[in-house]
Amino acid sequence: MSSSKLVTMANQIALAFQAQGEERALPQIRAHVEKFWDPRMREGLRVHLSQGGDGLDPLALRALAD
């Protein structure tokens, strides 16, 4: 799936949790993606992250890179 769409979606999710502060936001961002994204979308994002995660919001980057 096109990485630009995945990046947009991941950034939207990160922003939605941002108000709660980083400590609480990070696991929720991760959990949201786990819970609602099909594996090929998660894989697409993983590949994008492995290539540097261009365009990802820093919070999304920290939440989803591991």
Binding site: M1, M9, L15, A16, A19, H32, K35, F36, D38
Partner: protein
């Protein structure tokens, strides 16, 4: 079979703690204080003659037939307007009463045509019945005096005579047959709340007058049909009754339009539907309906219906009619080939929110257990998926909190992003009635929708916000409630997580959410935000009703949670008259969500990764289920364009027309190798299909629908499926072709499986539904009769959860290229993609999608009313005609998406809700400019569409 009997008690039921005992014709009866003598008599089985009274309307006392004598009282009072008093002794039949009634009836009949044998009301005429009841044997005055009956009288034109009005496509108005009982006028006022009818003139000149003595179609009439139902004579008569005759049996069933879920008596003659009459015992509609449910069912026998399965190799080929076996085998072979070639997860399906719970259950079961993937989704993705996410997060259930009757106890009604008088007309009428009784109204909507100001209804506050700023407004209202000390802290302490509340209170109290800061962002004066918040918090029982104007945004889920926060902060949850009420779009969209249509959830909203839940399904279905979430509709289309998703089975949904960014949807469908569409008609999506399986209408099947109040109601078959199979039978046959050993003989057996596997449906059986009419889930051991109100003593999730709702503007912004904001919606006479309503006379009210534009924006662009205009966004462009109106604010334009050739969704973008991918239909930055007519892409689509619908002559 016979007609479902309904007793007319003459006047409404009264609720009172006190009872009074009266004696009527020697029989004693105790009734609630305030009950009319007429009603008390009927409860004893005594029908006092009446014409102007009926128990859906307030007593009126005009016909003078229902007179009675009361011992110790002078005169002969009307029994409809006289309440029972303690120890009253009433006589309903005395020589004096007989004579009076006979005299009254004689006068009525002296000015009424005597064409009873050829009259459409023959067999269903209260006037005729009453003439019989009072023993009328002669009319001494003759028929030749002053009258309203004959066009000419005494050799001259009769100026009292008015010709029949046949302007409405569904009913006629024949003034010659009118007895001026006022029932139609009162129904229009009291039941529908449109006030389109009145009585013009006085005395002998009194006539029922639509609007200013106009034909019905030119008046304000919305064709709900309440007047027709109320009419005791043939004055207002369904054209179908005139055409066919009186029905001989009827069956109670549930409407297949909109999430209100009105129940109707389908009145039949053999297998021919004569008329749909809203059922008084229907708990969602209480005997009312709208133009769609009552009248717009002609599509069920429309010649466009496809009745035979069809296949084709390529979408450029004409369709070829084949046997069911051949069509189903084609699907099975193709899906197997594709899964072999591209992997198990290269296929999926879409369940239908227009189909029954049982049908949805089978489709998701086929996809999960048969295809072995969780790639299943439903139209809720594009409408109320944020409601599911938001309310589950805040309260613990993915549904509204109240029943519709709760409206009767609301003191403050807040309508956000919903247009109930168009989208959910019967609820709209109920809301209007409550507002006429004194409830206050707050409307938060970019458009001045009808309920903002309509006869005898005026919103206290209309917050005409800029599209896309819901979260800002609602969080700002929370700011006012918290900072002005209006929060219900006792409720919060008892019912919610208090630490979360404190954090949330601090968050909303920040000056960035003060109305004064938010005002320039939203275009709503700070004063209005403050006043609305104060009224919501302090006005008594406050209830929020919301629609797709809340959910179809980048921040749809956040808005739902902001609404949930407001209700918790003010304690407006858990009792009648309050609550958070999503007005669901399609008839069974609540049900389709309940039945496990989402790719991450099994039925009953339980995540697919939950091992125990998954195991219960695996055991019941003797299979292994994938524990990973599947693709949502927009993800399926993205994956198709990229090549990892190749086949789809779509039951009763037209994603090409209804889903956003149509060019992208088309590219997704075109990239698939096998598209299977099951529908009544060759819909727009079918232009890209390889297999077409004919579907059946709600009149042709048994099952259940679940409405917006979680109410599960029976759908009952009244005629054989024209295509030979109900939709559940088609899915079952398809599953069997896939090698699944399914043997459901009746949808009730499917419901048994639903109940066994879904805790919230555990107590639901067809026997129970037949016995009690309907139940609202959860219906289980704890709530055997269902749950009208949820979260009564505690939230389903335990403590209510306050969520921090930061306002994050959508990335869809206006700018020099696209300076206006487009928002889309629907109108009263059409439903969703219009596939059904466009194939009825409802097109007379709405023949094409129009672009509403403010006079200021129109003038700047040199656009006049009715001109063709081009509307352009970054996704695409179309042309349609302009309607200049100040219903929309400057800077905002609006259109509907009911007509496929308009292609409104070419313009909408791929932005979507952060949590659920629900598309942002409500905010598209656009430019509008004059146009000569339809654009090239629209003409091309029309040609493509025509080409794609070719059906080859059957081969021998």
């Amino acid at each position: 079979m016979s007609l479902v009997p309904e007793t007319d008690f003459g006047t409404k039921a009264v609720h009172s703690d006190k009872t009074v005992t009266v004696t009527i014709d020697g029989q004693r009866i105790a009734v609630p204080e305030g009950t009319s003598i007429m009603r008390a008599a009927m409860e004893l089985g005594t029908k006092i003659p009446k014409l102007c009274a009926t128990d859906t309307l307030d007593a009126f006392g005009s016909c003078r037939l229902c007179l009675v004598e009361i011992e110790g009282r002078a005169g002969t009072p009307a029994s409809c307007t006289t309440p029972c008093a303690p120890n009253m002794v009433v006589h309903t039949q005395t020589p004096r009463l007989k004579q009076l009634r006979n005299g009254v009836m004689e006068l009525y009949i002296s000015d009424h045509p005597l064409d009873c044998l050829t009259c459409a009301a023959n067999g269903d005429c209260e006037l005729q019945e009453m003439a019989g009841a009072v023993g009328l044997r002669e009319v001494r005055y003759g028929q030749d005096g002053a009258n309203h009956v004959s066009a000419r009288t005494g050799g001259c034109d009769n100026h009292h005579y008015k010709a029949k009005d046949t302007s409405n496509p569904y009913f006629t108005y024949d003034p010659a047959k009118c007895i001026v009982c006022n029932r139609c006028v009162r129904a229009c006022q009291e039941v529908q709340g449109t006030f389109a009818l009145t009585i013009s003139g006085r005395g002998f000149e009194s006539r029922v007058s639509p609007g200013m003595d106009e034909p019905f179609m030119e008046s304000e009439c919305v064709s709900c049909g309440a007047c027709v139902q109320a009419c005791p004579t043939a004055t207002l008569t369904e054209k179908k009754v005139i055409e066919i005759g009186q029905p001989e049996h009827s069956v109670v069933t549930t409407c297949a339009y909109c999430g209100v879920g009105c129940t109707f008596k389908a009145e039949m003659r053999g297998q021919e539907l004569v008329r749909m009459v809203p059922w008084k015992d229907g708990k969602a509609n209480r005997g009312h309906s709208c133009v769609k449910g009552r009248f717009a069912w002609g599509y069920s026998t429309h010649r466009d219906r496809i009745l035979k399965p069809m296949i084709r190799e390529k979408i450029t080929d004409p369709w070829r009619e084949v046997s069911w076996d051949e069509a189903l085998l084609r699907v099975a072979n193709e899906f197997r080939r594709i899964q072999g070639q591209y992997g198990k997860k290269a296929v999926g399906g879409i369940t239908s929110s227009r189909c029954t719970n049982e049908e949805v259950w089978l489709v998701q079961k086929l996809i999960r257990a048969g295809f072995g993937t969780n790639n299943v989704d439903t139209c809720a993705r594009v409408c109320h998926s944020p409601t599911g996410y938001g309310l589950a997060t805040a309260y613990g259930t993915s549904a509204g909190t109240q029943d519709f009757d709760s409206i009767d106890q609301a003191d403050v009604i807040v309508i956000i992003g919903a247009n109930p008088t168009d989208g959910h007309p019967v609820v709209g009428s109920k809301l209007k009635r409550r507002i006429r009784e004194g409830a206050r109204l707050i409307v938060i909507d970019p458009r001045r929708i009808d309920i903002v100001e309509t006869p005898h209804v005026k919103a206290d506050y209309h917050l005409a916000l800029q599209p896309g700023t819901n979260v800002a407004i609602l969080t700002s209202m929370a700011h006012v409630i918290v900072t002005e000390g209006l929060a219900n802290e006792a409720f919060i302490a008892e019912r919610c997580d208090i630490e979360e509340y404190r954090e949330w209170a601090a968050f909303v109290s920040d000056m960035r959410y003060s109305p004064e800061t938010i005002s320039p962002l939203t275009g709503v004066p700070a004063r209005l935000i403050r006043d609305a918040a104060r009224l919501y918090a302090t006005g008594g029982n406050a209830a929020i009703y919301y629609g797709l104007g809340v959910t179809e945004h980048s921040q749809g889920s956040t808005t739902v949670m902001a609404i949930a926060n407001l209700a918790m902060a003010t304690g407006n949850i858990g009792r009648p008259g309050v609550g958070v009420n999503p007005l669901r779009g399609q008839n069974n969209v609540q049900g389709s969500c309940d039945m496990g249509s989402f790719p991450h959830e099994l039925p009953g909203y339980r995540h697919i990764s939950n091992d125990a839940v998954r195991k219960s399904f695996e055991d019941a279905w003797a299979t292994t289920l994938d524990s990973e979430p599947g693709l949502r509709i927009p993800n399926m289309l993205d994956a198709a364009v990229e090549g990892s998703f190749k086949a789809i089975y779509i039951q009763g949904e037209d994603i090409l027309q209804s889903d956003p960014d149509q060019t992208h949807v088309a590219a997704g469908l075109a990239a698939m190798e096998c598209v299977v569409v099951q529908d009544l008609f060759l819909n727009e999506t079918a232009n890209y299909a390889h297999v077409f399986l004919p579907g059946s209408t709600f009149l042709e099947k048994d099952g259940t629908f679940t409405n917006a109040e979680r109410r599960i109601q029976r759908v009952r078959k009244v005629m054989e499926p024209k295509n030979g199979k109900a939709d559940w039978e088609v899915t079952q046959a398809l599953a069997r072709t896939f090698g699944l050993d399914w043997n459901y003989a009746h949808p009730s057996e499917i419901m048994e499986e639903v109940a066994a596997l879904t805790p919230s449906f555990a107590g639901v059986t067809y026997e129970k539904l037949d016995a009690v009419g309907s139940v609202q889930w959860p219906c289980n051991e704890e709530h055997p009769e269902g749950s009208p109100i949820m979260h009564v003593d505690r939230f389903v999730r335990g403590k209510g959860h306050f969520v921090l709702t930061e306002y994050i503007p959508t990335e869809e912004r206006t700018g020099p290229r696209f300076p206006l904001l487009l928002t889309t919606g629907r109108i009263l006479s059409q439903y969703n993609v219009g596939a059904q309503t466009r194939r009825t006379e409802n097109v007379l009210w709405h023949q094409e999608d129009m672009l509403e534009i403010h006079p200021h924006d129109a003038e700047q662009r040199g656009v006049k009313d009715g001109d063709w205009v081009k509307i352009q966004s970054r996704a695409g462009e179309i042309a349609l005609r302009a309607e200049i109106t100040d219903r929309v604010a400057p800077g905002v334009v609006y259109t509907t998406f009911h007509h496929p050739l308009t292609r409104a969704n070419v313009v909408t973008t791929d932005f979507s809700d952060w949590a659920t991918n629900c598309p942002e239909y409500k905010v598209t930055a656009v430019q509008v400019s004059p146009s000569n007519g339809p654009l090239q892409n629209q003409l091309e689509y029309e040609a493509f569409s025509r080409e794609s619908r070719r059906i080859a002559p059957a081969a021998e």
